[in-house]
């Protein structure tokens, strides 16, 4: 594992230079620990790709970073503040500077595409309707969806939904953008289009981007840095080149797509999820 900060969770000092700094992060679902002490940093303006197989905890990590899960321990530093230990009001303030693109888009089905993009601006700013309208058009233009303001999400294709969701995530001019499986369920051509869009956004706006994916080709194209999660711990952290050159067995297995023996029972499955051996039930 390369260049991981080893600070303890009780260090009150905000790290400098990094847009996101995660220290000793632990997340539980009930009594079961899913993430076992995660440490990493994302320098401002860089793209971090979080790789990992199903059940590795990568989605949980992303959900924790955007505040949808509450960590049971550790710190998440963003914009000089510990996101994990904030009041709900402060957390909302920080969230206005973050954008999140969900796996299925998560566009509000009862609103048009334009209304989806306009929502955060209407709720969080004092801008008048005509300014918001212009901004919505600009955002849709940036993702290649000009003229689709009045379409309902259900009328859009999978790739267009993703783009509309990205436009919505961009609406408040975020400093950090999070993507959950941006190319999942898309054909290779549309997926490549989404990758291009992510690269374009990074170049044009110098946004810090965190992407969770298991699509290797896409990951190597868009990433500056990568981490590989396995059973709730980071098994590799480095630049794309460092990961490609890594000889760590789990990294090699993931990158070389070597299959694992099938899981045979519930205990194996739970163990895969958490790395723990659960107590045998009576």
């Amino acid at each position: 594992m390369a260049s991981i900060p080893t600070s303890k969770g009780d260090n009150p000092q905000a790290p400098t230079g990094a847009a996101i700094s995660v220290r000793n992060l632990r997340v539980n679902y009930g009594s079961r620990e899913i993430l076992h002490g995660i440490n990493f940093e994302v320098p401002a303006g860089e793209t971090l790709v979080i790789l990992g197989g199903s059940g590795s905890g990568k989605s949980t990590l992303l959900r924790t970073l955007v505040g949808l899960e509450t960590p049971s321990g550790g710190e998440i530093w963003m914009r000089g503040k510990n996101f994990a230990a904030m009041s709900e009001e402060d957390r909302d303030e920080l969230r206005k500077k973050m954008g999140m693109s969900f796996q299925g888009g998560a566009l509000f089905g009862s609103m048009t595409v334009g209304e989806n993009v306009a929502l955060a601006l209407q709720e969080h700013t004092e801008l008048d309707e005509s300014t918001i309208e212009i901004m919505v058009r600009l955002k849709l233009d940036q993702v290649g969806l000009s003229g689709f303001e009045n379409y309902m999400p259900a009328q859009l294709s999978g790739g267009m939904k993703k783009r509309a969701a990205i436009a919505r995530a961009l609406s408040m001019d975020p400093e950090i953008l999070f993507f959950d499986e941006p190319s999942a369920g898309l054909d290779p051509i549309i997926a490549a289009g989404i990758d291009d869009l992510i690269l374009k956004l990074k170049k044009a706006f110098r946004i810090t981007i965190v992407v969770v994916t298991h699509e290797l080709a896409s990951a190597f194209l868009i990433a500056d840095r990568m981490i590989l999660l396995d059973k709730g711990v980071i098994v590799a952290n480095g630049t794309t080149k460092e990961l490609q050159a890594s000889s760590q067995p789990r990294v090699r297995q993931f990158l070389d797509r070597i299959p694992e023996p099938e899981l045979t029972g519930e205990i194996d499955y739970l163990q895969m999820l958490t790395g723990d051996v659960p107590p045998i039930r009576q």
């Binding site: 303030e93 206005k96 973050m98 299925g104 998560a106 955060a120 709720e123």
Partner: protein, 265 residues
């Protein structure tokens, strides 16, 4: 031991559920009435939109059902009363039954079927599609955004629908009274007005407002507790309807008992 454990855990779950409903109602009251004083926006447009869906669009079906219920009440009352030659009492029987009980209750049943289930389905679908998570990541509180407008709309529209249901019920009874008993429209209306006290109507409306709150809270609560997968939305919707009907009847019983105990003798 096992029985006491079951009863204990059922009681705790029941109380926790009611606590959840109260929490939803409490946060909505804060969003509608207190937060705007502190300068936070509340979009009345959303409540108006809900009020149209909950109230105005329900008018035809509420009208029809209440009209028929009024006629049915008159028929049932007349069946017994004609034995005693007391057909003139039909008007007051219909008026009092409609305003005190069946107007609010039948309106609540229609609103549960149309809106309570729709609330659960809407919020449940949003949960499954990660739209609720999306609201949170956009720094928008789902309760403020989704639940509060529904509470406001239901609090206003269920009593309004009930007034209309009362009227249609009396009209339904009147059709029987005029066509099959010896009433004229004038005598039926004056018999109705003589029988009714303002207390009958206000008691019905208080119940209607409470039903509105209960239906909204249960519908939204069931929506938020939807599990993973789209089939769970169907389960939440069914559960919202069943639990709402039960809760409405319980609330009805409690308020009717309170009105009985506090009524002047």
């Amino acid at each position: 031991m096992a029985i006491t454990e079951t009863i204990g855990s059922a009681t705790i779950n029941g109380l926790a559920y009611i606590g959840g409903l109260a929490r939803l109602a409490g946060s909505s009251v804060r969003t509608i009435f207190i937060e705007p004083i502190r300068g936070k926006k509340f979009h009345f447009g959303r409540a108006v939109h809900q009020a149209m869906a909950v109230g105005v669009e329900a008018l035809p079906i509420v009208s029809l059902i209440s009209f028929f219920i009024g006629t049915i009440l008159a028929l049932n009352a007349a069946y017994e009363l004609r034995k005693f030659g007391a057909m003139q009492v039909v008007a007051s029987a219909v008026a009092i039954s409609m305003t005190r009980e069946l107007g609010p209750l039948m309106t609540a049943v229609v609103v549960i079927g149309r809106s309570g289930s729709a609330f659960a389905a809407e919020i449940g679908t949003m949960k499954v599609n990660e739209e609720i998570d999306a609201l949170e990541t956009m720094a928008l509180e789902p309760v403020d955004f989704l639940v509060a407008p529904k509470f406001l709309a239901m609090l206003l529209m269920v009593p309004c629908l009930t007034v209309w249901a009362d009227f249609m019920g009396v009209l339904g009874g009147g059709v029987f009274g005029v066509s099959a008993a010896s009433f004229t429209w004038g005598s039926y209306i004056s018999a109705t007005l003589d029988a009714l006290q303002s207390r009958d109507i206000t008691n019905g409306l208080i119940k209607a407002a409470m039903f509105g709150l209960v239906i909204t809270a249960v519908g939204c609560q069931e929506g938020f507790s939807t599990g993973l997968g789209s089939e769970q939305v169907g389960r939440s919707t069914t559960s919202a309807v069943v639990k709402s009907i039960f809760m409405v009847v319980v609330v009805d019983l409690i308020f009717t008992a309170i009105f009985y105990l506090t009524a002047p003798r």
